[in-house]
């Protein structure tokens, strides 16, 4: 067997064992409740007005969230694409931080900014002497939309600005010379050219809002449940696995359609683009109006980031002003709980799992990206969507699948930490694909041929040519994989055993217990989680593959 074949077998075997098999198990479970095949679970889901309502709610909340996300993301994308200003690197790094933040941290940030005891309410109550918190958006749809936009706008910024920065400015100038006004140029030239990248980022944002779990669970409260949350409740609270399976399959059907559309849009970017190095496209001189726009946009960006800043501020605030009280109390087992773990143990769990996840995700993601880059036929977007599927499947569904598939000997993984690593790497490796693929596609075949002519074997070519070119993409992918694993919440919640508690799960457990002390500890843990993830991310901003169109 050739190395090529082995390479192809790797990702496919991995996907079959840890993705399709669990999913089929769910399907089988749903279709086969008694002795014979029947589709009752599907009928009861689709015939139940509550679950139909969940499907409808999931779709429209994702739609509104996506629109808000685009409105927020596009102006910032433009600024980053076409303007140079001091502090741009830091701001751009900071703008991406929300996307890789664990959902639970985002939720905590919103609670500390906008919750009843949040910073904004305290400020307004102090300033104007309100008796009750004037902002009451906890457990409303508004806060869900805001959080989704906060979470996903960075996808729009990254994808669209990468594309916008390289869009040939001669096209717009030609339109101007041919008599088009600024507005006409934007409508007839710029917007249509950006459209594939806007669509592809919008589909991603939609997919993430569609499968949103942590945000809706923590911020929305009981009256708002997406399909994902409903699946979780059916599994963990009502123990109706066959119904959960049916709902999960319905959701999977939707997300796969979105991913096909996404891959299609990515393909369109490649066909239509007229791209030039971004040095040609920068605007250095600004009119007064542009300057005002620039400042407003930067202010907007800082506002967007404020939940995270407030989160840190809150975690350092106790009754007596600023202190490390909340952090210290993490070390005290106040309730004398049997399952108590020190924060050090929890952090160690998270970091260890994340490190192992990163290793597996790099291996699987890079091989898959290589295969995608080599396949040049017209259906490559179909394959692309195939490999990206785990990105669109909710973590809760995966967790459920694992519980159903690997629950008896010889493969009983329920008690093992291995199950967690596998689930995490499955969600993480699509990010590696997206980071590595643009770089891989950009390697001209002549490079490989030149190396071969100069006497390099395929292995040597890989080590000396491909690896150095791919290194930035690999590092970006690795950081995403690390961040995804650190923040993964849905699958962990279902799969984790108390001794393997990870940081997001610990935060959720702390939130579930009453009392200011527990809330303070949740804040402290969230800050720690955020800082670990952000540190890694800011470090890679410099290593980002320069003209990559991926996120």
């Amino acid at each position: 067997m050739t190395a090529r074949r082995l390479l192809m077998l790797g990702p496919i075997l991995y996907l079959s064992a840890f993705f399709f098999y669990p999913l089929l198990t769910i399907l089988a479970r749903s279709l086969n409740t008694g002795d014979s095949l029947d589709i009752t679970p599907f009928i009861s889901i689709l015939g139940d007005s509550y679950y139909l309502g969940r499907v409808w709610f999931t779709i429209w909340q994702a739609t509104v969230s996506t629109v808000v996300t685009l409105l927020l993301g596009l102006p910032i994308a433009y600024i980053f694409a076409r303007h140079e200003f001091r502090g741009k690197t830091i701001l751009r790094a900071a703008s991406t931080v929300p996307f890789i933040m664990p959902t639970i941290v985002v939720a905590m940030g919103f609670i500390s900014l906008l919750g009843p005891q949040g910073a904004l309410n305290s400020l307004l109550m102090d300033l104007f002497g309100f008796e009750n918190p004037p902002i009451r958006i906890s457990n409303t749809l508004t806060i869900i939309f805001m959080a989704h936009a906060f979470y996903n706008y960075a996808i729009v910024v990254r994808v669209v600005s990468a594309f916008w920065a390289n869009l040939n400015p001669r096209l717009e100038e030609t339109a101007a010379v041919l008599g088009a006004s600024k507005l006409n140029t934007f409508i007839t030239i710029t917007l249509p050219l950006l459209f594939p990248s806007i669509i592809s980022s919008a589909i991603l944002a939609f997919t993430f809002s569609f499968t949103s779990f942590g945000v809706v669970l923590v911020l929305g409260g009981p009256q708002f449940a997406t399909m994902e949350v409903a699946t979780y409740e059916l599994t963990a609270k009502l123990f109706r696995l066959e119904l959960a399976g049916a709902l999960a399959i319905i959701q999977l059907f939707f997300t796969y359609v979105f991913l096909l559309l996404y891959a299609r849009a990515q393909d369109n970017i490649a066909v239509r683009s007229d791209l030039v190095p971004r040095e040609f496209t920068r605007i250095s001189k600004r009119s007064a109006r542009q300057r005002v726009g620039l400042i407003l946009t930067i202010l907007m960006l800082i506002t967007i980031l404020s939940p995270l800043l407030i989160l840190i501020e809150r975690s350092l605030t106790s009754v007596n002003g600023y202190s490390l009280h909340h952090f210290r109390s993490l070390f005290v087992n106040a309730d004398d709980s049997y399952f108590y773990l020190t924060p050090i143990a929890i952090i160690t769990n998270s970091v260890r799992f994340a490190a192992m996840t990163t290793g597996i995700a790099l291996l699987v993601g890079t091989s898959a990206a290589y295969l995608l880059a080599k396949s040049s036929n017209r259906s490559s977007w179909f394959q692309d969507a195939f490999y990206m599927m785990p990105l669109g499947v909710s973590a809760v569904v995966m967790g459920l699948g694992y519980l159903l598939a690997f629950n008896r000997p010889p493969v009983d993984l329920r008690g093992s930490w291995l199950i967690l690593i596998i689930a995490h790497s499955l969600i993480a490796y699509p990010f590696v694909i997206r980071s590595v693929l643009p770089a891989l596609r950009a390697v001209p075949t002549q490079l490989q041929e030149s190396a071969a002519v100069l006497g390099a074997s395929p292995t040597k070519t890989f080590i000396h040519i491909y690896l150095p070119i791919l290194t930035p993409g690999l590092i970006v992918g690795a950081t995403f994989a690390f961040a995804v694993s650190m923040g993964e919440f849905g699958a962990s919640l279902l799969l984790v055993r108390p001794q393997f508690t990870t940081m997001p799960v610990a935060i959720f457990r702390l939130l579930g217990q009453p009392g200011a002390s527990n809330f303070g500890q949740a804040l402290a843990m969230s800050s720690l989680l955020m800082m670990i993830v952000a540190a890694g991310f800011i470090a890679i901003e410099r290593l980002r593959y320069r003209n990559s169109g991926g996120f």
Binding site: T174, V177, G179
Partner: protein, 360 residues
């Protein structure tokens, strides 16, 4: 009166001048070529005329009217970029029709005008083609048709054939010149390729360091280049700075290739010690292996053959003489053989082969 006048225009980016104190004039219906090396400010000048940049100083007048902060879309000019900038999301028809749509012309009129233009550039039936389906030459034609469609008052070209192979480029140059002349539009054509300029231009403006160093018809420039820069950018070889000495019956010229004696010319005011530019005609130089074999009068210098360059109909022989090298053509065929390299030769330069230009 010139239709386009550029007067003492300057434009700087940061603290560097891209265009500096540049003036030029173009007559109605003429093709003016801006000739100069890359980075000499040609493209910036086009952008200034098009209204994509505003000059820091100076004026640009069209038909007697000066422009003042008038945006590109209001000038009624056309501009073809080097990379053509065809709209990749539109087909051929929509590209060509773009300027007409912007003028809000009726649909029927747009359709017939586009058809007419596609016929002009020999692309009949290409309306529905996608841009990426076109060859390099076809793209140039579409870009030309698109620029011509709104009937611009002035059409500008920024090295539009730079990316094509020579044969295609030459064929297109002839076509484009014919089309421009058929339409009768005034055109400004930027290039760094002198052959392209000679082929296209009614008049040439030689640019260097952001300014106009000499302007005139190709013939004028070729016969009377006023500086070394102009002579070299026109492709003249054997251009040397030289100095007069001992002016009597014959004039002695001290040049980097050696001392030359030339017959005095009545039209020229010689002055002892003054600097001149000497241009030696490649075709008039003869080379031999023995001294004094040449019968006609001239200067004979010693030299060493440095390089032979086969040029098809003839071979160029580069001879090192003194501190410089001399390029010679029209030599006995036996000398153009590789064994001649490093051979000692005698170069004879007849007096009539030396053209003198006052140095400015």
């Amino acid at each position: 009166m010139a239709i386009l006048e550029v007067g003492a225009v300057s434009k700087s980016f940061g603290n560097k001048y891209a265009v500096h104190n540049m003036s030029l004039a173009a007559e109605q219906g003429d093709i003016v070529c801006l000739l100069g090396p890359s980075g000499c400010g040609k493209t910036t000048l086009l952008r200034l005329i098009a209204g994509l940049e505003e000059p820091d100083q100076g004026y640009i007048k069209f038909d007697g009217e000066p422009f003042k902060n008038q945006p590109a879309q209001d000038r009624g000019f056309g501009l073809m970029f080097q990379d053509l900038a065809l709209f990749p999301h539109m087909n051929v028809f929509r590209n060509v029709a773009f300027g007409l749509h912007m003028k809000r012309l009726p649909k029927q009129e747009i359709r017939s005008r586009v058809e007419q233009l596609l016929e002009l550039v020999s692309l009949v039936g290409y309306e529905d083609r996608k841009i990426y389906q076109l060859s390099g030459g076809e793209r140039q034609r579409v870009a030309l048709a698109r620029s011509l469609a709104p009937q611009p008052r002035l059409l500008m070209f920024d090295e539009p054939f730079g990316s094509l192979d020579r044969e295609l480029s030459e064929a297109l140059q002839v076509d484009v010149r014919n089309i421009i002349k058929t339409v009768g539009v005034t055109a400004i054509y930027v290039t760094h390729d002198r052959n392209e300029a000679f082929g296209m231009a009614d008049s040439i403006v030689v640019m260097e360091n952001g300014t106009n160093v000499q302007a005139g018809s190709p013939h004028e420039l070729f016969t009377n280049p006023k500086s070394e820069i102009v002579a070299k950018s026109l492709g003249l070889r054997n251009v040397f700075s030289a100095r007069f000495e001992k002016i009597s019956k014959a004039v002695t010229l001290i040049s980097p290739i050696g001392t030359l004696k030339i017959d005095p010319n009545k039209d020229y005011a010689y002055k002892d010690g003054s600097e001149v530019l000497a241009i030696i005609d490649q075709k008039a130089i003869s080379i031999s292996l023995q001294k004094g074999k040449n019968t006609y009068q001239g200067n004979t210098l010693e030299g060493v053959v440095e390089m032979l360059r086969f040029q098809g109909p003839y071979t160029e022989i580069i001879v090192r003489c003194g501190k410089a090298t001399l390029s010679c053509l029209a030599t006995p065929q036996e000398l153009s053989n590789p064994e001649m390299i490093d051979a000692k030769v005698y170069v004879t330069i007849p007096s009539y082969a030396v053209r003198l230009l006052s140095k400015e």
